[in-house]
Amino acid sequence: MKRRTMIKTVAAATLAGVLMAGGAYAQEVIKLGASAPKSGPLAGGAEVSHWPAIKLWLHDVNARGGIDVGGKKMPVEVIEYDDRTSGEEAIKNIQRLATVDKVDFLVAPYATGLNLATAPLIAKYGYPQLAATAVTDGVDEFAKRWPNSFWLLGTSASFAESVADVLVKLRDKGAIGDKVAVVNVADAFGIELMNAGKPAMEAAGFEIVYETSYPLGQQDFAPIISAAQAAEPDAFVAFSYPGDTFGLSAQAKIANLDVGAFYVGVATAFPAYLGANGAAAEGVLGAGAVNPDAPGMAEWRARHKDVTGVDADYWASAMTYSSLQILEQAINKVGSLDKAAVTEAIKGGTFDTVLGEMTLDGNVNRKFWTVGQWQGGKFYGVASTGIGGEAEPVAKNGWE
């Protein structure tokens, strides 16, 4: 089977009918290209936040009969490639999608590095690139460099500064004192967050009592947690990636790290985090968030589970889905598949997404969730850059 498409039964039947009707029309199907990791180090994350969201959106849009393009409903077909978490492979995939498969639009690749690696090429072909899983401080520079690129998930600086804000809130409530232990994964993400987070915390009057970085792929966190514990912090902050997020949490629980605030980075918002830590997840702070009680969100999450068989995470899943909603609405508004016109429409428009109303000011989403917290089995946003509807952060109360 070439190009495993994700068209669901109903849509497939419709499509078959349309195709059989003959090639009188130049085009009946919108071809969407997707290149992201299905193997390699980042496959784990993409399997949670990226691929299922695309699958759900495709199901939803084709259930409606497709995208309304100038009054005609056109079903969507997705051509998927595995980039094996490698830049070379991703570039080749984009080339193939653009020149061999001649897709109409692209789903942006997964994660910061791969989005940046492919950006010059995507710009060359003029596709709008709605990067839903990249967090970097370069957003404005990149938006200027590649005017077709859009940056939705936010900047590391805001993520890190929000951590300081949440800690201040908790201190004001008397949940924690001034002593903070900060660790970070030695990867672009971890370092950018550390560089922004440390001064922000110091500026807010916190004292960094323990600080270290550890390499990507670290599996043993006992030394880090015990060293942190020895410094007797009131709060523990880790700018971490999925594997280490789980590892640090498990170790903190075993060591019974007694802190009033426990923050870990990427993957805290994954449903698997709750699964792994159970009751101990309660009160854990993490990077990114959504508002699970926002209108439509609960229904969307239920549908996600229904259609894809897995739970959506509480962060990037919804953003990936939203990026496709933006694309759909822009195509709809333009009424054609003209890439330049659609890109322009994305620039100026306001869009209705599962995350609420979204505008891209200078190609950048300025309103995004930065910190979330597990409260009663859901991951609530406790800090954002002005979305509204934040939950109040609560103190971490033990590991039982």
Partner: protein
Amino acid sequence: MTWLNEKERRIAGFAAIAFGVVALLPLVDQGYYLSISVNIVMYVVLCTAWTLFSGPTHYISLATAAFFGIGTYTVALGIDTVPFPLLLVIAALASGLLACVVGIATLRLSGIYFVIFTLGLAELVRQVVTWLQTNFSSSLGLYVFTDFGEQHIYWMLLGLAAIVYITGWLINRSRLGFAMQIIGNDETVAKHVGIDTARAKVILFIISGAFIGIVGAILAPRFSYVQPPSAFNPMISFQVVIMALLGGTKRIWGPLLGVIPFTILFDQVTAYFPNHTSFVIGIAFMAIVYLLPQGVLGRLEDLVRLRKRFRMVSAEEGNNP
């Protein structure tokens, strides 16, 4: 040129024409076919450079990712301040230096230690680079913005490929190449006819490593964003070994026979089975190992030998009245 015989001159002519034709590709296609060709030429250079060392010595080096990453990082660090050609030279020197140190330390040991050590070398260098950057600079990722398009990278790689082939050919007719041939036959004899085997191996390892470093440097502008996991990706090391062995390492053009089918195969598998890539590649791989034990080159030489024998037999039969 008197130091080329008739046959060599003919081969050189053909090679020059072939290079010329291949270099025209970007004028025909700037899209997917150019992209996959960049990958092919990149692996051709990597595998040929790898074979320069590993072919005669039979040492399996998994350090490719380390040299490649050093090249990439050299460019990423210097692109804003140093002219690109100079960066290529620095990349070659830096990876050559690493090869020298590693070679001196490990090449006197038997093959298997070398395999394991080089396997870890990329990880080690990656961690040291990460650690240095974490502690002495503000960010880990580096941006490489240049005006190079795919076609420029393609041409640079082609040029490098030509240099690698010429170097390999020069080595083969030099004392060093002859020494390597003897070492490959019998290392004890090699020592007793006066060959400093350790030194010869280290020199070749340095040459091989330097070329791999240059490839990394040339490729850096292709990734706008360079960070340690992508620059020191261990998969590169493995793929190089596999493609080179698949092609055959007895001759300098052997790897070419592995790289082209393998890259196309990998690519087709990714295209046709995006969700089963690992599985299909695994099967393809095992099949290659069992069906082509001497590599494509070995199989090809078998065929040539068979044909020759067939011709001789039929000629003899023809002579019979």
